[in-house]
């Protein structure tokens, strides 16, 4: 057997049975073969590393197209805010633990029902290419035909999607009984940090967690509103937090 001809087959796991045994036996005693196998394995690793790096770039581009801005575009701000985020996390954990230790006397469903009302679409979300779909969606949404509204909103091009549309989608999903999916949709709005819709998204996600009886998560989002005096639902969030104690 020419062992040096078999190196690639060995590192690609193509040698089987007796051939493999003979090769491995030679490998234990032949230093030149050991060096050659090590070199070829490293080349294979390097090719794999390059391809994975390339794939990662392509997936980040797909993320940007299908979901929204990739994390790489926000890296600098994240780096700047890292120490503050860490401090905020410690405070949040403290607050969360404190809330967790306080037993709740009020039914979460009662709180949800008394606070929940579907979001009213205020202005027209316009996009020349998608006008007809948007019109149809809003018509159904305002009429309370949430399933039809959701189906229409789903037809919209994701890359063009507006935060208001996402909120409407989440409300529709919740009305359709798909509260978990509604929560993931609102998470996109929160992640995008749209200054106009962040409070609204925190409010609804809090309510939806309440509806799902996930009190720690609900408290976390209401706390975001309670911490911000300028938030629209600041007072309402504080009251909910009080009643959850």
């Amino acid at each position: 057997m020419d062992y040096f001809d078999k190196i690639d087959e060995y590192i690609l796991n193509r040698l089987k049975g007796e051939e493999l045994e003979v090769f491995e036996s030679e490998l234990t005693k032949n230093a030149d073969l050991q060096t050659a196998v090590k070199q070829r394995s490293k080349i294979s690793d390097a090719v794999k590393y390059l391809e994975r790096k390339e794939l990662k770039k392509e997936l980040q581009a797909i993320h940007g197209k299908e979901i929204g801005a990739s994390k790489t575009e926000n890296k600098s701000i994240i780096t700047i805010l890292k120490p503050y985020l860490a401090a905020a996390a410690v405070i949040c954990i403290g607050l969360l633990s404190w809330w967790l230790l306080s037993p709740s006397n009020t039914s979460t469903n009662d709180i949800y029902v008394s606070n929940y009302a579907p979001y009213k679409v205020l202005n027209n979300v316009r996009d020349a290419a998608q006008n007809a779909v948007v019109d149809q969606a809003w018509e159904n949404y305002r009429a309370g035909n949430f399933e039809a509204a959701y189906l229409a909103l789903e037809k919209l091009d994701n890359s063009e999607i507006d935060g208001q549309i996402l909120i409407a989608k989440a409300i529709s999903l919740n009305e359709m009984g798909l509260t978990n999916k509604a929560i993931s949709t609102l998470a996109i709005v929160i992640e995008n940090k749209d200054p106009f819709l962040l409070d609204l998204a925190n409010w609804y996600i809090g309510l939806f967690y309440l509806k799902s009886d996930n009190i720690p998560q609900a408290k976390y989002f209401f706390q975001q509103l309670a911490n911000d005096e300028s938030a629209d639902k600041h007072q309402a969030a504080k009251e909910i937090l009080n009643s959850l104690r």
Binding site: D8, L12, T35, K38, Q39, K42, I43, S44, D45, A46, V47, K48, Y49, L50, E51, R52, K53, L55, K56, E58, L59, Q60, I62, H63, K65, E66, I67, S70, K71, N74, I78, I93, N158, N180, K181, I183, S184, T185, A187, I188, E191, Q217
Partner: protein, 196 residues
């Protein structure tokens, strides 16, 4: 949904295709269907949106490699498989993390599969240096080495993909590419221990 079997088969064929645009179209479809689920899982288990994106992309790379190397059974659900990989990657990352993080919602039926717990972008200095030299070899050598070592394609298939007359021509070209790489590597002090 991605899990429908005929759709599953179509997606698998697209992923395996050497046509990059078809493969990326499959990636986009999987991304649209599955990302929210993973993000929700990571966000609910002490992770950030950026970490969710990272984990999902690493999971997609692992899925791609499993499909490419024939380790993914056609009847399996892409959705379930991808979720298991991402969950595993995240679990592994949490374990490695120096900060003690709370793991909420990790179902008890989740079993760690050591084979799947991988950090896909980890590489040592030697590997990174060799990778930078491979990038200097030119597009044909890079493509050939990718087909051979990463995609693990047979010589005959590589000949077809690269428009070469037969597998012997591929073997010769591969030898030349590796020889050129060795010449480049020998000039690098970092690689001297490898090419002694």
């Amino acid at each position: 949904m991605v899990m429908a079997s005929s759709n599953n088969r179509d997606l698998l064929n697209m992923i395996k295709s050497p046509d990059k645009s078809l493969r990326n179209e499959a990636f986009s479809r999987i991304y649209k269907e599955e990302f929210d689920k993973i993000r929700f899982f990571v966000l609910n288990n002490s992770g950030s949106p950026a970490e969710a994106e990272d984990i999902f992309q690493d999971g997609m790379i692992i899925l791609y490699e499993q499909v490419l190397h024939g380790n993914f059974k056609e009847q399996s659900s892409i959705s379930t498989y991808l979720f298991a990989i991402c969950k595993n990657c995240w679990f592994n990352k949490l374990k490695k993390s120096s900060t003690k993080k709370e793991i909420l919602g990790l179902e008890m039926d989740f079993k760690e599969d050591e084979n799947l717990v991988i950090d896909v972008m980890i590489a040592d200095e030697t590997t990174k240096t060799l990778a930078s030299l491979i990038e200097k070899l030119g597009p044909d050598c890079q493509k050939l080495l990718k087909y051979y070592y990463y995609e693990k394609r047979k010589m005959k298939e590589i000949a077809q993909l690269m428009g070469l007359s037969n597998d012997q021509v591929v073997k010769n070209k591969k030898s030349r590419c590796l020889k050129k790489l060795k010449e480049l590597a020998e000039k690098f002090p970092k690689l001297r221990s490898l090419y002694k």
